[in-house]
Symmetry: C2
Subunit: 251 residues, 2 copies
DNA sequence: GAGCATTTGTTCGTATGTATA
DNA sequence: GTATACATACGAACAAATGCT
């Protein structure tokens, strides 16, 4: 009954573009857009809640709910007293980290094998000239860093190579899934290189050549031969090594 | 400076079990627990925000942020005037639906191929007696439903069969990923059966036998032969059919 | 259809803990 | 050490949709 002018209740509110019926959802979209477009790069502090609220023309409480959602999915991180920061561009990444962190490395490797095998085959039929260039460049970087025992550089180059042919598969969903898991591979790659001292150049060479040659079957087989040894290294009596049964190149 | 007793600022607050420093996060954990444990099954309405707040001893505003997070990840759905309802138990499901819904069916099929190929191989080495039983039962259901042209039943049985051998692979992460995408497969399976009239019994039979026989290589090959025809059906000049190059059974 | 209670949607104001300069 | 800026949390109010009578 008390007289009050502007408090409570959904008010008409334009939100930059595309005014939805749900303010919170619109705010989430707005924030997500800014993050995924690279407008707010990873590591950067985003405007304060008050600024965001003023900017968008909605209340602090509502924008707070939106931020909370993105914090929960792992895109943002809040530090009381400091501010809110971007920690990831992909919703999947945070999810995987929460789901994977404690789980067996072998589980992750098996998924990696799954994704990369089809990626290799698809890449062999869909790769562009740019892809081929990138592949060869990464291969060179891989050799150079391994030669001078630059572990960090080697891991980075290896990651880059794999990322490259996954991209060459031209499947956006596959790329997103793979990229989301990428960080989880670092540790495995590094430990394999350090413990065995084998940079697996021949296997990668064969893989890259098969992709360039447009030979999906051998690309898939080469890749599997290589990841098999990783799986064995992690520990696996269960997984059958394909190169013992099929031989290496010709089928 | 005005005297006030309980307002503002983080207060000590026990939250059932595991009191964190972050009330919102605790509330999220609490809700997630209830949902994933099946305490609040899918479809059910959860308590109102006020009840939740009172129950947990925190303010409605805070519990609301927690609920918002779960709404955003796809576990919950809010209907103004009615209440809040559980729509999914897995965070991945909602995420995939948002990411996949509009995308090419072929992209999804390629991921499916990736996951199922390793699942088949792993299942062949890890399957238990229970798995074998379930596999055979699903196979029977598949034949029966196809014979009487029960499309819905056939799709369900087919889904069940595939789900079964993915489970037999004993990789929790793989299972979760696959299950999250399951619903997206329904449409493809149905349309393939309706449009071609081919239930692919022989291919599935061969796959199941390879798994039971503990032959991972043939299991993977049989599966790929089968999914290849799906890919071709969706449209694909790019994907190489493995059975044309390798032949069907022996490698 | 009109009225009413319930429930979510949105906002404001205020107080407090925490980090930083 | 004391401002200051920021996130954290609470409480109370009103708006709008829904469902029931």
């Amino acid at each position: 009954m008390t007289a009050s002018e502007r408090t409570g209740g959904p008010r008409p509110s334009k939100f930059g573009l595309g005014s939805r019926t749900d303010l919170r959802e619109s705010a989430v979209d707005y924030l997500t857009e800014r993050i995924q477009s690279g407008d707010w790069p990873v590591g950067q502090q985003i405007p304060t809640e008050s600024e965001l609220a003023a900017e968008a023309g909605i209340s602090r409480n509502t924008i707070r709910e939106a931020v909370s959602s993105l914090v929960h999915t792992g895109l943002l991180e809040r530090r009381q007293g400091s501010g809110t920061f971007v920690v990831s561009q992909s919703e999947l990444t945070g999810l995987f980290e929460r789901h994977l962190s404690s789980k067996d490395r072998q589980d992750v490797l098996e998924i990696r094998l799954a994704l990369e095998v089809v990626a290799a085959a698809l890449a062999a039929t869909r790769r562009t000239d740019e892809d081929i260039e990138g592949l060869l460049a990464s291969m060179t970087a891989r050799r150079e860093t391994a030669d001078r025992n630059d572990v960090d550089g080697y891991v980075e180059a290896d990651l880059q190579l794999h990322r490259q042919f996954v991209r060459a598969a031209q499947n956006p969903l596959l790329i997103e899934l793979y990229d989301s898991m990428l960080e989880g591979f670092r540790e495995t790659i590094a430990s394999y290189f350090i413990e065995t001292g084998d940079p697996c150049h021949e296997e990668h060479e064969a893989l890259v050549h098969a992709i360039i040659a447009g030979d999906p079957l051998n690309a898939a087989i080469e890749l599997r031969v290589f990841l098999d040894s990783h799986l064995y290294h992690v520990e696996s009596t269960a997984w059958p090594r394909v190169h013992q049964e099929v031989g290496s190149r010709e089928v």
